[in-house]
């Protein structure tokens, strides 16, 4: 597509990046039909091609973000379905981030909106702060009905009970011969809301010969703040993670950085790009991205032990967008589950987002709920015993709407290879 940036504008690296991306878009429209918001709303402005156009217009003319750009870019889930579809290789992810930063700087938002965004960006990435906030929210739950729209959405998302366990930096030795040494991103929201996921991941990795280390100084991946357009805040976290992992790698060696929340995985795999102009950390960030793996990628590489439980259980596998579109990981989880003796079923419209999308379900509750209900109907229609997904966000989003237990893929794999049976299976008394 034709672009018209001045040489002056192109001196900004963000604009150069945007220009390169825009040049690749040939305006074919293939991406519109696989975009969840276009499917729901039928407006070109709510399609990837439309958003690309809106962002292009804003950047080229150096305009402050119009209400239209803000509204339609805010509605974007960053599910990246458009990138899977695009034959031309348009990197929508990087473009929309440039757009979001410009909107954060120049757009008009209501005070309430700004406050909510600030709150999310401050609280969620910190497990401690988030745990306190949760206590508050849980107390507010009975009053949810009286809260205004988006606060209600926030409070309602909080599960009634969560098993919190915040991982301290330490090493979990491999069982038997050590085959790999991996760093685990402990995550922020996930460990507060469902500690079982990290516990199952560590059991699974160690029993497959991986030494797992939670590196000193590594924290939230930065995605939440980054997608809220808060670049500086996010990049500060990114830098300390890069330093932490590079330190660990230099001192004791690392074969991979393992991530079990795919939203974070997409982000870590992008560190190399995000810090590409950082004089000090660019090479380290590129190295971190090259080492980053979803937990199922690592397991597929080391090979799964023979299964001892779970055989014959039917599993509806829900593709988290960050895993399928963000990282292109579709086969590994399916093959692992199949290899462990589960009967894996695909969910119709699997490419469409469930509406979780980081903080989307809090900021855009109406669209998020429509997507959730659509996804829930598709998942339930499959009629499986249990649903597996590779991302905590999807699990929290779908749990209240789906009529069957929902677990992280690693929990099933752990169970199949000798670990405890996921508790939700018993609670729901689904399998006898």
């Amino acid at each position: 597509m034709q672009t018209s940036f001045t040489p002056d504008q192109l001196r900004d690296p963000a604009i150069t990046a945007a220009d390169e991306i825009l040049r690749k878009c040939v305006h074919c429209g293939f991406c519109t039909a696989t975009c969840p918001t276009y499917v729901l709303l039928g407006d070109e402005n709510d399609s990837p091609r439309g958003r690309i156009y809106l962002i292009k217009d804003m950047l080229e003319n150096d305009r402050p973000a119009s209400d239209a750009v803000t509204r339609h870019v805010d509605r974007c889930l960053s599910c990246l379905s458009c990138m899977t579809t695009c034959p031309s290789g348009v990197n929508y992810m990087h473009l929309v981030d440039v757009g979001r930063q410009r909107i954060a700087r120049t757009g008009r938002r209501s005070a309430a909106d700004r406050l909510l965004r600030w709150l999310l960006a401050r609280v969620l990435p910190s497990p401690e702060r988030f745990r306190l906030a949760l206590l508050g929210a849980r107390m507010a739950r009975p009053f949810a009905a009286f809260l205004p729209g988006r606060l209600k959405a926030l409070v309602k998302l909080v599960p009634p009970a969560a098993r919190t366990a915040i991982l301290e930096p330490r090493v979990f030795p491999a069982e038997g011969v050590r085959r790999r040494r991996v760093a685990l991103l402990a995550g922020c929201v996930q460990q507060v809301l469902d500690a079982e996921i990290n516990a199952a991941t560590i059991r699974l990795l160690t029993k497959h010969g991986c030494e797992v280390v939670v590196a000193e100084g590594a924290g939230c991946c930065g995605a939440l703040a980054y997608h809220l357009g808060r670049e500086e805040e996010a990049l500060a976290g990114v830098r300390s993670n890069v330093r932490a992992w590079i330190r660990e790698r230099t001192a004791r060696g690392l074969d991979a950085i393992v991530i079990n929340a795919s939203g974070c995985g997409t982000m870590v795999k992008d560190y190399g790009f995000l810090l590409r102009n950082d004089p000090e950390l660019a090479p380290g960030a590129a190295e971190v991205s090259a080492l980053a793996r979803d937990v199922t990628e690592v397991l597929a590489a080391v090979g799964l032990k023979a299964a001892v439980a779970g055989a014959g259980t039917t599993v509806a596998y829900h593709d988290a967008c960050s895993l399928q579109h963000g990282q292109g990981v579709r086969e590994a989880p399916r093959l692992l589950l199949q290899g462990a003796g589960f009967e894996v079923r695909d969910v119709p419209e699997g490419h469409l987002c469930c509406g979780s999308a980081g903080t989307y379900n809090i900021l855009q509750p109406e669209l998020a709920t429509r997507l959730r209900d659509r996804k829930a109907a598709n998942v339930d229609g499959v009629g499986a015993d249990v649903v597996a997904a590779g991302n905590i966000g999807c699990i929290l989003q779908l749990a209240p709407a789906i009529g069957r237990p929902l677990v992280h893929t690693v929990q099933l794999l752990d169970w199949a290879t000798g670990g405890p049976r996921p508790r939700v299976l018993d609670q729901a008394n689904w399998l006898n």
Binding site: K24, F30, S66, D67, V69
Partner: protein, 509 residues
């Protein structure tokens, strides 16, 4: 009557649209208000939000519309048309905006009606083997809705993932499987359309039309949004053939591949699809889908054979033997359904995949006699050198429909003009070898001014009489298809009562 023209904000150099009507533009607020009353939550009047509507798949022509409206019910469409008809406001229908001929290009004085909200499948009638869909449903969604019971919708434009069934009807879209299963027109059974005065009518039904009376379905299919707005489509679905195999055949030259096409068809084999791509297109597509295309060949043929197992086995062998005789460097037959779909995925993504190797391209659409294929490709190569621009060829080889993609960089001054000249040379070449200027992408604005090359004055006037019978006021999608729009009264179609035309102040161009 000479056409009065002014340039709109079109990058393309020689394309002119009708002069926008200033009084209409002056009434904009009033029109927006009226549309808001009809579709309270679906009017886009903000300039920033209208910009994404300024073009379709042919992005070199751009124009911000007067206003965009997104109705979601037939009643709303009807009310909008009634209002526009009564108030003399022009209308441009828009489906998914994938047209490559600028069919959905807005006008500065026209309402763009987007049908994106009409995206539900209304009924699957298994007994009559048809699907009733709203016009905004994508082509692929129809197949997706019926494939679990072994059915599919045959016409499959490469844009099928996104293009709407309403847009397919409007453009009479074709696809890689049209060689055996026909174009849209051969697969549509019934339509509901809203006429320019707001009247809602049904044409056809759920069965193959009887051979009596006017073939209105045939007339409406391919009418490019000039006769009415399609609000419901009934299409025939087919049972999937028992066996389907696709084959890749690589050749060291375009000539050899062209010979193979002629030999396959000459031998009486009717493949379900027979497509050709040249080196540039192969490389771009392979990079996106990793279909396993051979990268060391100059031309690639993809053939599909379907039917009962025994027949397919036999035909695959025959086609492979013909290819070998024509010097094929490699032949690969799909071993699974997944692999077959991958073979096609590359071909279907070929146009936009070219975006990987060039920031812009012009997609041409001409038809030539099959036997002249090798010669035409050689001459296109020579033209490519003459104009100093690369060209990637993608070709519905089976039915002679050629899509050369002229690669250029719109950011470099002068390249677009060179690309356009190159394009015109290609189309002239098509005509010279006995072909025609259009394949399947429609006339739109892209080929509008070339219509007189194909049709004489009498043909064109006759075609416009049809237009007048439906849309005497010339309000639906004006400036498209016809190079010169005569006013209907002039052609004796309008009754002039008391010396007064029905719309005396209607600007006619």
């Amino acid at each position: 009557m000479p056409r009065v023209v002014i340039p709109v904000r079109c990058v393309k150099t020689d394309m002119r649209m009708p002069v926008p009507d200033t009084p209409t533009i002056a009434r904009r607020q009033q029109i927006v208000g009226a549309l808001r009353r009809i579709v309270p939550d679906g009017v886009i009047a903000d300039e920033a939000a209208m910009r994404p509507y300024e073009c379709d798949g042919l992005a070199v022509y751009r124009q911000i519309p007067l206003v965009v409206v997104l109705p979601s019910t037939v009643e709303q469409v009807s009310a909008i048309l009634r209002y526009c008809n009564a108030n003399n406001v022009k209308i441009v229908p828009r489906g998914a905006g994938t047209s490559l001929s600028g069919g959905a290009l807005p006008l500065a004085d026209a309402v763009t009606i987007g049908l994106g909200r009409f995206n539900r499948i209304l009924e699957i009638d298994w007994d009559n083997r048809c699907v009733v869909a709203q016009p905004g449903v994508t082509n692929l969604a129809i197949t997706n809705a019926v494939q679990h019971r072994g059915f599919y919708y045959a016409p499959d434009p490469s844009s099928q993932i996104a293009c709407s069934i309403g847009g397919n009807v409007a453009e009479n879209a074709g696809g890689v499987h049209c060689l055996k299963y026909g174009l849209t027109t051969n697969n549509v059974l019934g339509l509901q359309i809203v006429l320019p005065d707001g009247e809602v009518v049904r044409v056809g039904g759920r069965h193959q039309p009887e051979g009596e009376g006017y073939d209105l379905m045939g007339l409406l299919t391919g009418s490019e949004g000039l006769l009415g707005i399609v609000t419901e489509v009934t299409v025939r679905i087919l049972r999937k053939p028992e066996t389907v195999r696709a084959m890749l055949m690589g050749f060291a030259s375009n000539e050899a591949a062209g010979d193979a096409v002629a030999a396959i068809i000459g031998a009486g084999v009717v493949p379900a699809g027979l497509e050709m791509m040249d080196r540039l297109a192969i490389h771009a597509a392979e990079e996106f889908v990793h279909a396993g295309y051979p990268l060391d060949v100059e031309a690639l043929l993809i053939a599909e054979l379907d039917g009962p197992q025994a027949e397919v086995d036999y035909l695959v062998e025959r086609v492979a033997a013909i290819a070998a005789r024509c010097g094929a460097a490699c032949v690969r037959v799909s071993a699974s359904e997944d692999e077959r779909l991958r073979f096609w995925a590359g071909r279907k993504a070929a146009f936009p995949a070219v975006g990987r190797i060039s920031p812009d391209y012009l997609c041409m659409d001409g038809t030539i006699p099959r036997r002249r294929l090798a010669e035409v490709l050689a001459r296109i190569r020579a033209l490519s050198e003459k104009h100093g621009l690369r060209v990637a060829n993608v070709f519905h080889a089976g039915d002679g429909n050629l899509h050369p993609l002229i690669l250029f960089d719109a950011n470099r001054p002068g390249e677009l003009e060179r690309a356009e000249e190159f394009g015109a040379d290609i189309l002239r070449l098509c005509v010279e070898v006995g072909g025609v200027l259009t394949g399947e992408h429609g006339v739109g604005v892209e080929k509008r001014d070339l219509m007189p090359v194909m049709f004489d004055e009498v043909d064109l006037e006759q075609q416009q009489r049809v237009k007048c019978a439906f849309d005497a006021g010339g309000l639906l999608n004006p400036g498209k298809v016809f190079p010169t729009l005569h006013n209907c009264a002039e052609m004796g179609r309008l009754r002039v009562s008391g010396g007064q035309l029905p719309f005396p102040d209607l600007p006619r161009f």
